[in-house]
């Protein structure tokens, strides 16, 4: 059985947020409107965090796309009272919308704050309703949602591979954020396949887990940005 995983290369990320837009389009994320957005209730299954380094004018921006880390020891799972969030055999941290009663304990306990609660019944003002993805269910109000690793794409590729009596090939499944990334910073693949790109990238020295000290064992890991500035050039 494949075990899905991801790497995000921070050396390549330019912070363009194409991944955020792609995720919105792919996963039918609710549009909350300006008032709710001002309250910080936007749904962004993937967000680009921005960090400033230094003081103006010698200032540098660092970017870090953060989505559900698909932890192997996910803090969100044991606290759900109704088993609405659980671990699939292929290692996805799945959210069962129909089972969710909306206690929000999972979001409280997520150190990455990548779980999003639907506070009101979502609506898509025209023409946005025309672009909803038929492969992804729409969610009602009062439930929790989050990055699924584009599970609809995984399942479709698996079905196709099964019909053709073969295994899923490395690179056959691309998540929406990966597909949209112009710098190819996001790589998705099977951790059980030693030849996959994601396994090779995770073997790099730059590979690390976000908040790894919490021992959540994330499936998504980051490749650290390396700055090799020539001192003779100055800042």
């Amino acid at each position: 059985m494949p075990q899905w995983g991801m790497t995000v290369d921070l050396d390549r990320c330019t912070g363009c947020e194409a991944c955020v837009v792609a995720c919105h389009a792919e996963n039918n994320l609710p549009i909350v409107g300006p008032d709710q957005a001002a309250m910080g209730r936007t749904h962004q299954w993937i967000r680009v965090e921005r960090y400033w380094e230094g003081e103006f004018p010698n200032i540098k921006a660092k970017f870090m796309p953060v989505m559900c880390q698909q932890c192997d020891a996910a803090p969100c799972e044991p606290v759900c009272p109704v088993n609405a969030t659980y671990h699939t055999p292929d290692g996805l941290n799945a959210q069962v919308y129909n089972r969710c009663v909306g206690t929000r304990f999972c979001a409280n306990n997520c150190p990455y704050t990548v779980r999003f609660f639907t506070w009101f019944t979502p609506s898509w003002p025209s023409p946005l309703n025309e672009q909803l993805n038929p492969d992804v269910s729409l969610r009602t109000s009062g439930i929790m949602e989050k990055c699924t690793f584009c599970v609809q794409r995984i399942r479709r590729a698996e079905d196709t591979a099964k019909d053709e009596k073969r295994a899923v090939k490395d690179g056959e499944i691309k998540t929406a954020c990966q597909q949209a990334c112009p710098a190819d910073a996001i790589v998705f693949g099977d951790l059980n396949d030693p030849g996959s790109r994601v396994v090779q990238l995770k073997a790099e020295e730059r590979n690390y887990s976000l908040l790894g000290e919490l021992n959540t064992r994330p499936r998504t890991t980051y490749l650290a940005a390396v700055r090799n500035v020539n001192p003779e050039l100055g800042e």
Partner: protein, 370 residues
């Protein structure tokens, strides 16, 4: 009142009490106590202001129903909660109300087992307070869910979905803890009430009330066998209720300590929560007792001795709570964890600093200085 052995001892205690004020005012016997209490219910005319107050409270309850209906139809976004603080208004209220109930149980159960006779004047309405507090507390975990109509999924029952609740979740423990607590509190209150309902049945003048109290009294005749079983049942219930005083709020505190979030992940929480519960519960008993004894002329029964004892408990638990606040801040620093440190520092100096210092002033400084 409910326990025939204790009032007999109380006037004696009043005489031998030395410096402390008496449990009940001198001159009262079992008979006068019964006369006085039952007259409040049976003969005293309900004054006009009672109806006025009752209608105001009724309107507020109506407002509650309107608000809850709006909440269910609109979605809980109307509360202004946000991720990652998904609980705010709702679970804070839940914890507060559950805490209030603890004083009632403490008075009923632990003080009974410890043979603290002064409890008998205040236990009944403290127990009633517990029941109402638990009922109020029950509203919040139910309606804090995004889809309250499905909240029964937290209860283990053989369902066609063939799926159980997730027993590792503290919210499921909460369901057990709070429902046990509500059941035991109700039984305790009601068992204690049976002989008194029988007294009221015997003294009621109108047929309707005789039947009403008669049904409530469950055929109580006051025979020695009745009293014997009553004593045994009451003692057993006290035994059952005693661990609940500690366990319920401990379980409630697990809702937070199980989390790995800075500011939540602390071992001080269970004792700190229990002490806080008893602290705010006794504060509520005093808030109710002081006007009640004035309005119904019960100064003879709820004497300064009761108020003094309750104030002492508040001082002690208030100090434990102060210790909890202190340890929280200390551990934030001592952990060496930047996130823990930031959480504490932000609480003390951040946008909510006014509330934090108001809390310190109200919960520690005021009661300890008074």
């Amino acid at each position: 009142m409910d326990n025939p052995l204790q009032p007999r001892e109380e006037p004696r205690a009043a005489v031998t009490g030395g410096g402390t004020p008496p449990v009940i005012a001198p001159g009262h016997t079992l008979g006068t106590v019964t006369d006085k209490i039952s007259s409040i219910v049976l003969t005293r005319r309900t004054p006009l202001w009672w109806y006025a107050g009752f209608s105001i409270v009724l309107m507020l309850s109506g407002l509650l129903l309107v608000s809850l209906t709006y909440l269910v139809f609109k979605g809980i976004g109307i509360w202004g909660n946000n991720v990652p603080v998904g609980w705010a208004f709702d679970i804070t209220n839940f914890v507060w109300w559950i805490g209030i109930g603890h004083a009632g149980t403490l008075i009923s159960a632990i003080l009974l087992l410890l043979k603290q006779t002064w409890r008998t004047s205040i236990n009944r309405f403290a127990e009633a307070m517990t029941l109402f507090a638990v009922a109020s507390a029950g509203i919040f975990p139910l309606f804090h869910t995004g889809r309250p109509w499905l909240a029964y999924w937290l209860v283990p029952y053989p369902s066609t979905m063939s799926i159980w609740p997730q027993f590792r979740s503290p919210l499921v423990w909460d369901v057990f803890a709070v429902s046990t607590y509500a059941t035991v509190s109700l039984l305790f209150w009601y068992v204690g009430l049976i002989p008194d309902l029988a007294t009221l049945r015997d003294r009621a003048k109108r047929k309707f009330f005789q039947i009403l109290y008669g049904m409530g009294a469950l055929g109580w005749r006051g025979s020695a066998a009745h009293w014997h079983r009553y004593e045994v049942a009451y003692l057993l219930l006290a035994g059952l209720a005693t661990p609940l005083v500690v366990s319920v709020h401990t379980v409630v505190s697990f809702d937070f300590t199980i989390g790995i979030i800075p500011g939540w992940h602390a071992t001080i929480f269970p004792p700190y929560f229990v002490a806080g519960a008893i602290f705010d519960g006794f504060a509520m008993v005093l808030t109710l007792a002081i006007p009640l004894r004035a309005v119904y002329g019960l100064e003879g029964f709820i004497t300064l001795r009761h108020l003094q004892n309750m104030a002492k408990i508040m001082l002690a638990t208030g100090l434990i709570v102060a210790y909890g606040y202190m340890i929280e801040a200390f551990m934030g620093w001592y952990s060496g964890n930047v996130f823990e440190k930031y959480t504490v520092w932000n609480r003390i100096t951040g946008p909510y600093r006014h509330y934090y210092w108001a809390l310190i002033a109200c919960n520690i400084l005021t009661p300890q200085l008074l």
